[in-house]
Amino acid sequence: MNTMLSVRSLRAAYGDIQALWDVSFDVNEGEIVSLIGSNGAGKSTLLRNIAGLHRPQAGTIQFEGLPVHRLPAYQIVERGVILVPEGRRLFCNLTVLENLELGAYSRRARKEREKTIRRVYELFPQLADRQGQRADTLSGGQQQMLAIGRAIMGQPRLLMLDEPSLGLAPLVVENIFEIIEHMNKQGVTVFLIEQNARQALKLAHRAYILDQGTIVGTGSGEELLKNDEVRQAYLGFAKTEDSLL
């Protein structure tokens, strides 16, 4: 399997707060990789560094063998690394269609724009019905669909999602995760960050655990789902000896 994204010894700080200490991991082509961790573990910071919104202090980020950690965000997008940010961050003053159009702003994606819009509308028929509406008139679930749709417009090769299930009804979450799986089957590599660890581990081929700015564990999604420490820390299970089993 080809390594697509390779992060080595990444260190990053926010002001005086050291958010990432020494993070190394890989995402291989075609995989769904999940990163789980508690609030404040540095998950979002890690994604922001990969997307080019934040400069690391040290370490390297390589995408398809080329270093990208010094590139501005739009050039990283141009290579097909697309982030669906936490909190969706739609352009609320613009319509659904305009949000999608802007998602295909990069030169590479713009050529395919009309085709990709049709594809997004097939995935999310609700968006097609509302394409002339302002983005802030959509429900929370529809807004998340639009955020993912906007990312798909950028023709992702590596799709990164930051807490896509946050604040959504279970049924909508189900739908969002189905779409992620579908995208992966279409050949898009997925790097997923979730607090909803159970769902993230179920979906993932492999997963990493981030705690206080370092990677503290890794394994296949299934392995981690069965791991006692993981169950205790991230899945809300009590210690095995205390449980009724």
Partner: protein, 292 residues
């Protein structure tokens, strides 16, 4: 005070307000997208006015035609200023950014003012076009050609800007950057190019207003601050999130000043304008043209 006088004052208020409006939209655009308060906006207006003046003095070029020189010159000046000065500030955040933008642009204003004094002298300059004083008389209301020209020019410029912002992909990228700069970056927009374009357009708008100021009132190296303040008041009146809303707000301020000048005497016109400003701040602090 008869009806004709009221309409006459209203029309002159609109003429003045149109110039206010273009100047204010330029400031609002730069503030809305770069989140930088450019105190030297009035000096850019002054520079546009001088270019127009010298084009007239040297070649007899009409101030409306001089736009063909003024706009490209100011786009160039805007690009240079963005690269040399403002690019370093846009990256900063919060209080630091506001303070530095004030410091840098205030410094720029001082430099431009003093350069203008040494290069152009401190004299008042104005343009006497052949059609000065001529106009249409409509039911007892006189509408000078030069002032009608300013109003039409302003409307055309604002319509063009509206069309650019809302109906072109580049314009939508500008609006997206104004709303959420990081989301714009993640969509693949080169935000520094957006900033450069925006600053160039903002500088051009100031300069377009400047060509009308030199035609209507005349110009001197010290006019900058007056126009920066006017534009700032209008931007806040409209609401800082409403870029094009600054144009109707400019018209409104012009009309209020014009009418209060006619009814209460010229000395009070600015006072009433500021009273309206305070009332809006108290009753509708988000601005007149911002959705709640």
């Amino acid at each position: 005070m008869n009806f004709e006088n009221v309409i006459q004052s209203l029309m002159f208020g609109l003429f003045t307000g149109a110039i206010y409006g273009i100047a204010a939209v330029g400031l609002s655009l730069v503030f809305g997208v770069l989140k930088v308060l450019n105190v030297a906006h009035g000096e850019l207006l002054m520079l546009g006015g001088y270019i127009s003046y010298f084009a007239f003095a040297a070649w007899g070029l009409d101030p409306f035609l001089s736009l063909l020189i003024v706009i490209p010159a100011m786009i160039l000046a805007g690009i240079v200023l963005d690269r040399v000065l403002f690019r370093h500030i846009v990256r900063q955040e919060g209080e630091e950014k506001i303070k530095n933008s004030l410091l840098v642009s205030f410094g720029l204003a001082l430099i431009m003012q003093n350069l203008a004094i040494t290069q152009f002298t401190a004299d008042d300059r104005s343009i006497q076009v052949a059609y000065m004083g001529m106009g249409i008389n409509l039911l007892g209301i006189s509408l000078p050609y030069s002032r009608l020209g300013s109003l039409i020019l302003a409307l055309v410029v604002i319509l063009a800007l509206h069309f650019f912002l809302h109906h072109s992909l580049a314009g939508k990228a500008v609006l997206a950057t104004a709303e959420d700069v990081e989301a714009a970056e993640l969509a693949g927009i080169n935000i520094h190019r957006v900033f450069m374009l925006t600053f160039a357009v903002g500088a051009s708008l100031a300069a377009i207003a400047g060509t009308q100021v030199v035609l209507t009132y005349g110009i001197s190296p010290s006019v900058g601050l007056y126009w920066t303040l006017k534009a700032l008041i209008i931007v806040i009146l409209a609401g800082t999130n409403s870029i094009l809303g600054a144009f109707p707000a400019g018209l409104l301020l012009g009309v209020v000043e014009g009418l209060s000048g006619a009814f209460l005497g010229q000395t009070y016109s600015e006072v009433i304008g500021l009273v309206m400003f305070l009332l809006v701040l108290m009753l509708r602090p988000q601005g007149l043209f911002v959705r709640q």
